[in-house]
């Protein structure tokens, strides 16, 4: 219907405006880019309030009051205060107060981060490297992990055995970078395919 047709034309103009940057930086591109920054900032705020602050704070406060467990309801005032205080950062005199809520979030981030680093990454990855060297793959995996680790060893000059290990390590690292670059190409091309498909199918019906 009408709003979809208008919408497709607006989407097509914005797509072409952004692609025009390839020819050279121009006002149409600058306008589209600034609209993009504005809309996505506004979008994130609506989302955060519609799905987080409202249901978990305001709604939870109301339901706790109705079900009469007042402790649960009034305890929610603490995160509400911490959240509002966070907004005082723009007032120079009250910046020190906003640091309290920043410290709370950073404290939780650090606490979770310390454990996640050990349980989520180090332990499983070490455990999987402990493979008997009975076939080529296990041997190459073991050598790869050990030599890459030695490449990032800074306490001794990379000479002698250490030098050999770190040179093997850089070979593994380069192969790894090459492989991930190869994959990135496909990622970016599929984005391009998606945009051309939109331009020549939804907007101009050239593709059936």
């Amino acid at each position: 219907m009408l709003s979809d047709i208008i919408g497709t034309w607006i989407a097509a103009t914005l797509t072409i405006a952004i692609l025009s940057f390839l020819y050279k930086d121009n006002p149409l591109y600058r306008a589209a880019e600034h609209i993009y920054v504005g809309i996505s900032a506004g979008f994130a705020v609506i989302y955060a309030w519609a799905f987080d602050v409202y249901p978990m704070l305001i709604d939870a406060f109301k339901t706790n009051l109705n079900t009469r467990n007042y402790l649960e309801a009034y305890i929610l005032i603490i995160p509400a205060l911490l959240g509002m205080v966070m907004l005082l950062r723009s007032i120079p005199k009250l910046v020190w107060l906003s640091r309290w809520s920043i410290s709370f979030t950073i404290g939780i981030g650090a606490g979770l981060g310390l454990i996640a680093g050990v349980q989520g990454y180090l332990l499983p990855q070490i455990s999987d490297t402990l493979r008997p060297l009975i076939n080529l793959n296990n041997a190459v995996l073991y050598i790869g992990v050990i030599t890459t680790l030695t490449y990032f060893y800074f306490s001794k000059e990379h000479a002698g055995l250490l030098g050999i290990f770190s040179r093997i390590g850089i070979v593994f690292i380069m192969v790894a970078f090459g492989a991930s670059f190869g994959y990135t190409v496909m990622a970016r091309i599929s984005l391009l395919i998606g945009r051309f498909y939109f331009l020549f199918h939804d907007w101009l019906p050239l593709i059936r």
Binding site: E33, V118, L123
Partner: protein
């Protein structure tokens, strides 16, 4: 006749067997794990679990819906810690149902320590102790050796060639904030480049994407110029704020590169997908490019497009070599020790594992010990 009887029992519904009940381990109590088996679960409509506080007492259903699984975690709010409970499972087919034997007694308890996370506790304590030890040693001013990162020679080499041609130098932190470790590590490198550009009286341009990083850059370059004895050459207009938007910043810096045509460019900080646009434009003006970031997804582009690239932690080591700031020095030394420790542990266990598999026929116990160690690190999910 016997034959028929067997046939009949065959058709009568077989009840669930080997019903096991135990307290849910490593939890805050009020939870009991129930598991059972059944020869043909798919022929059934489902199971229902019944609970009672006495082996012969009245059994009440735990959940109204029929279950299609053969395990269940009973976290009913009525459950009390320390009370003995008994369970039985009834299987339901279209027109028949059969109950299992009664299982129990079982008592729900809260544990004070989650035994399944012992390995996390051990490794966290060892790693934290080592980091704290090395950071304290560094803060007491102990001299600790860090090898010279070849990237530093590459910086001097690039500076030399740019100043020979009398072309300006460009430095960028990318989209990094002041709280990013890699930006903090890049500041001493900016100081070294600033000192060199003052000595050769060559312009140093630093476009920024964050106002706070811009002020830090201005202070660092001013100190470098005074250190080189040329405070008069310092010009704050060369160190500007472009924009905080990713592609806006890339377009802005590309404009500066095409106008100023710098001889050397240093990309040292935090970069995302725009790294490609920047490095390619730098290449078109024939500048010598040196890059360094901890953002691993962008390293392939820098490695292939720049003359020299510092990979991940090499920036921290290079920065520490120039200005051994205690906390960063302690962290690098701590990491180095842990890396060597890990290499040692992995090597010992891998060779032990190899021996265990090779000698498996005559000493089978080795294999079980090896598997126990591997599982200790990370139990199979």
């Amino acid at each position: 006749m016997l034959h028929l009887h067997i046939l009949l029992t065959f058709f009568a519904l077989t009840p669930p067997e080997s019903v096991l009940v135990k307290d849910n381990p490593n939890d805050q109590g009020q939870a009991i794990v129930i598991t059972w088996t059944h020869p043909a679960p798919e022929s059934l409509l489902g199971f229902r679990i019944f609970r009672s506080t006495s082996p012969t007492g009245d059994f009440t259903p735990v959940e109204p819906e029929l279950l299609n699984r053969t395990d269940y975690l009973d976290t009913d709010t009525l459950l009390r810690d320390g009370v003995a409970y008994y369970y039985l499972i009834r299987a339901y087919s279209a027109n028949d149902s059969a109950s299992s034997a009664v299982a129990g007694p079982v008592i729900a308890r809260a544990q004070w320590f989650n035994a399944s996370r012992l390995n996390v506790l051990v490794l966290t304590l060892i790693i934290s102790a080592l980091f704290i030890y090395y950071i304290l040693r560094a803060r007491q001013g102990k001299q600790m050796f860090i090898r010279k990162i070849s990237g530093l020679d590459a910086i001097d080499d690039a500076l030399g060639r740019a100043t020979e041609m009398g072309k300006p130098i460009l430095f960028s932190f990318g989209l990094g904030y002041i709280t990013d470790m890699v930006v903090i590590a890049a500041l001493p490198l900016l100081r070294r480049i600033g000192k060199k550009s003052a000595e050769y009286a060559v312009r140093l341009i630093v476009p920024n994407s964050d106002p706070i990083v811009m002020t830090a850059a201005q202070e660092t370059v001013k100190e470098a110029y005074t250190e080189a004895g040329r405070p008069d050459l310092y010009n704050p207009d060369n160190i500007t704020f472009v924009t905080s938007d990713q592609f806006g910043y890339a377009a802005g810096v590309d404009g500066i590169i095409l106008r100023e045509r710098p001889g050397a460019i240093f990309w040292l900080g935090y970069f995302y997908a725009e790294s490609l646009i920047l490095a390619e434009t730098g290449h078109t003006v024939g500048a010598i490019q040196l890059a360094g970031t901890t953002e691993t997804t962008q390293l392939p582009f820098f490695v292939a497009a720049c003359d020299y690239t510092m990979i991940g932690e090499e920036i921290y080591a290079a920065s520490c070599y120039l200005k051994p700031e205690p906390v960063m020095l302690g962290t690098i030394k701590g990491e180095d020790f842990i890396k060597m420790l890990l290499i040692f542990i992995i090597t010992v266990l891998v060779f032990f594992g190899t021996a265990a598999t090779l000698l498996n026929r005559n000493i089978p116990s080795l294999q079980t010990v090896f598997e126990a160690i591997v599982n200790w690190f990370s139990p199979p999910s």
